[in-house]
């Protein structure tokens, strides 16, 4: 069976209430002491066998973080987070650094199987759809448990491994680029991440190489009271290309859990990076209890001429989403794109968007954002488009559409547009619409149930963005959107 179908079927099979990934895996865990201190950071660094410079980097970040204040400008509200009530490191006890899939705890593999991730490499052996293979790095709480297709990627010169390994094996590369897009001092959550990040993926594509397969990371928060602080660093060297997918899930909990990730992308001359996310962290129950706080800093640097960075995201989960995947268009003729679908239902709060910073000449950017609000949720698009005074010929097109389902939700659009160069051309379009009762009746008259009709109309609304996703993700995303909107009508 091809991976796509298998994934869909498995996702369908996991039928636990509305949130389909709400199960917990019984694995013996090793944790750091609760709370945050220099000692905890030393503990994490030691666990990862890091060199001294990395530890210093973390400690500097921690000192800086102590002086910072949690940002409060986003249109979200939540109880104060007690940063000393969180475990900053949790790892499955056996095999902290497994050499192959056989060494991975079978319970963890079962979890990924339940999630529909074809970690096992049976597919190539069976020769099924060899052209659509996906290399997967799976991160379980604080450590990466399995990375597939490593050898084949190595043949192409592609480095794809847990960042903790990269720090040991490619310290010069990591040191050169880590924090070069999102500086240690960037913002409260990014600085926290810099101090305590535990794992994530590292990708390096050498000059002129087109990565032979999609790269993918699945993040799973499992342990109670655990924060997940992953760090992803992707470097596309001159003339290279890579498409990277990221998926996230977590079990159901009564307490909120913190997820504060940092993703840095660097595209050098003529390089292209496509970064796609399907975010499905646990959104909390109908009353808003539990759910993940998703405070994430994602930024791409089009450092070279003619480079391209594309962010595509499908956001259906999390109690609170605070996330603005951005592009710094530094290289002349570089291009940044942001395609987003943000679905909120129940009591979810989303404050998400992008920043397109035009620095180089003739840089272009495109923003297509589709927000869908249902239930009692609040869905805000917040975006910045700016042109530096040297950004001659900068061009942006922005389109923000919001769709409301029901009459207790809210959609907000907050665009910031700053141009310091008279030749810049920025366009902004925004619409807000509601699924009308007449549309629903029309669809139902033709035989669609209320839920089928909603799913169809919503899929039409998000089509422009779904087309940007790699095929297997598009199908999964479509299903996810339907699932997250279940019970939103009637």
């Amino acid at each position: 069976m091809p991976a796509v179908q298998e994934t869909i079927d498995q996702v369908r099979l996991i039928d636990v209430d509305q949130y389909k990934y709400g199960f917990e895996t019984e694995v013996e865990m090793e944790k750091s002491p609760k709370g945050l201190s220099e000692d905890v950071i030393r503990f994490i660094s030691a666990k990862k066998g890091e060199p001294e410079w990395m530890l210093q980097w973390r400690l500097d970040a921690y000192k800086r973080w102590l002086t910072m204040k949690e940002p409060d400008w986003a249109r979200v509200s939540y109880d104060k987070i007690d940063y000393n009530d969180i475990y900053y490191y949790a790892a499955p006890k056996k095999n902290p650094a497994p050499k192959s899939l056989d060494e991975v705890d079978p319970e963890i593999l079962k979890t990924y199987e339940k999630l529909g991730i074809p970690l096992r490499e049976q597919e190539i052996l069976a020769g099924v759809e060899p052209e659509r293979r996906v290399a997967v790095d799976a991160v379980f709480d604080s450590v990466s448990v399995a990375t597939t297709f490593k050898e084949e990627l190595a043949k192409a010169g592609v480095i794809f491994m847990p960042i903790s390994e990269a720090i040991r094996e490619y310290p010069d590369l990591v040191r050169q680029y880590l924090g070069s897009v999102v500086p240690v001092t960037d913002n409260f959550f990014a600085t926290l991440n810099s101090a305590v990040f535990t794992d994530g993926s590292f990708v390096y594509i050498p000059p002129g190489v087109r990565c032979p397969m999609e790269l993918s990371t699945y993040f799973r928060i499992n342990e109670k009271n655990t924060g997940q602080f992953e760090r992803t660093l992707i470097i596309a060297d001159k003339g290279s290309y890579v498409s990277y997918l990221e998926g996230c899930t977590a079990p159901k909990r009564d307490e909120n859990q913190l997820h504060a990730a940092v993703v840095e992308l660097i595209a050098l001359d003529d390089a292209e990076i496509k970064y796609s996310t399907v975010q499905n962290w646990y959104p909390g129950d109908a009353e808003g209890r539990g759910g993940i706080y998703n405070f994430v800093t994602k930024r791409g640097d089009c450092r070279g001429r003619n480079s391209v960075i594309t962010w595509t995201q499908v956001e259906t989960g999390s109690a609170i989403t605070w996330k603005y995947p951005s592009c710094i268009l530094r290289g002349d003729n570089s291009r940044g794109e942001f395609y987003s679908i943000a679905v909120s239902n129940g009591m979810q709060q989303v404050d998400s968007g992008t920043k397109m910073i035009h620095l180089g000449k003739n840089t272009t950017s495109r923003i297509i954002s589709k927000g869908i609000a249902a239930g009692r949720s609040e869905n805000t698009y917040r975006g910045l488009v700016s042109a530096h005074r040297k950004a001659t010929g900068a061009r942006n097109f922005t389109n923000c559409d919001s769709l409301l389902i029901g009459n207790q939700c809210g959609a907000h659009t907050v665009p910031y547009i700053e141009s310091k160069n008279a030749t810049a051309v920025f366009e902004h379009e925004a619409t807000t619409s509601k699924i009308s009762e007449d549309q629903m009746f029309y669809c139902q008259q033709r035989g669609l149930s209320e839920e089928e009709a909603t799913a169809l109309i919503v899929n039409g609304f998000v089509k422009d963005v779904l087309q940007q996703l790699p095929m297997e993700f598009a199908v999964e995303a479509q299903k996810l959107i339907s699932i997250s909107l279940e019970g939103s009508v009637g």
Partner: protein, 250 residues
């Protein structure tokens, strides 16, 4: 086939249907004519199950099944089809996608297997050809940017595909030029069969020259006030609805 007994309907405290009785037999094409505000469109919406209407009394039976107890999609699966006067736009959803979703939803509800894609495409193409619908129209988002005539043809295409047993045409002739009227009427006539009944709602005799009815009902103030053969339509065309208005005034 369809039996309506003493139907009383109101919307926002306003009585629209006042004890309406109507029977349409299998294979019959029944026309309903009447002045604006007589309740014609309300009748079609109530049969199809639109929410806003409050049914105070009466019943609607389709082959003995009580339609009033069913959701709109269940009624559709039972064979009710309403060709809308103003078909709705569904942005981003290709007409082809919509057709496939609705056909398969109905088949599923009836316990039939879903159609395979080649089978489905064959059927759509055959029906589209008859209605002179070009293929690129099927790729466009449903009814978005369609002309009045294109929208009506799309309604009849859906009818041809879904093969309903009871079809309601609500002012299908409105907004159609002569050519479009001919195409749409031919499409409807091709679907006439001993197993299928039609309820054709219209203001004007014009449509009934193309779709010749077996019976004509005159509706006024929420009731059927006169029933006759196709010649009744011609009579109305000549004399207007004045007679019925006067009778009410008297």
């Amino acid at each position: 086939m369809l039996e309506i007994k003493n139907l009383v309907v109101q919307i926002e405290d306003k009585r629209i249907l006042n004890g309406l009785n109507l029977t349409v037999n299998k294979g019959e094409v029944a026309a309903i004519m009447g002045p604006n505000g007589s309740g014609k469109s309300t009748l079609s919406y109530v049969i199809a199950g639109k929410e806003d209407y409050e049914v105070l009394d009466g019943e609607i039976l389709l082959d003995g099944q009580n339609l009033l107890e069913m959701e709109p999609d269940q009624r559709a699966a039972a064979g009710v089809f309403l060709a809308f006067q103003y078909p709705l736009e569904i942005p981003g959803v290709a007409s082809m996608t919509f057709l496939k979703a609705t056909l398969n939803a109905q088949r599923k509800a009836r316990g039939q297997e879903e159609l395979t894609t080649p089978d489905f495409i064959k059927r759509v193409n055959a029906a589209a050809q008859q209605l002179e619908i070009p293929k690129d129209m099927l790729k466009r988002a449903l009814n978005v940017g369609f002309s009045g005539g294109e929208k009506k043809r799309m309604e009849i295409l859906q009818m041809a595909l879904l093969q309903p047993s009871f079809c309601i045409l609500d002012e299908t002739d409105s907004g159609l030029d002569i050519d479009a009227l001919r195409i749409v009427s031919e499409g409807v006539n091709a679907l006439r069969s001993p197993d299928r009944a039609f309820l054709v709602i219209t203001h004007y005799q014009r449509l009934l020259n193309h779709i010749v009815p077996d019976t004509v009902h005159v509706m006024h103030a929420g009731r059927i006030v006169k029933t006759g053969g196709k010649e009744l339509a011609l009579e109305l065309e000549a004399n207007g609805y004045a007679d019925y208005r006067e009778s009410e005034a008297a």
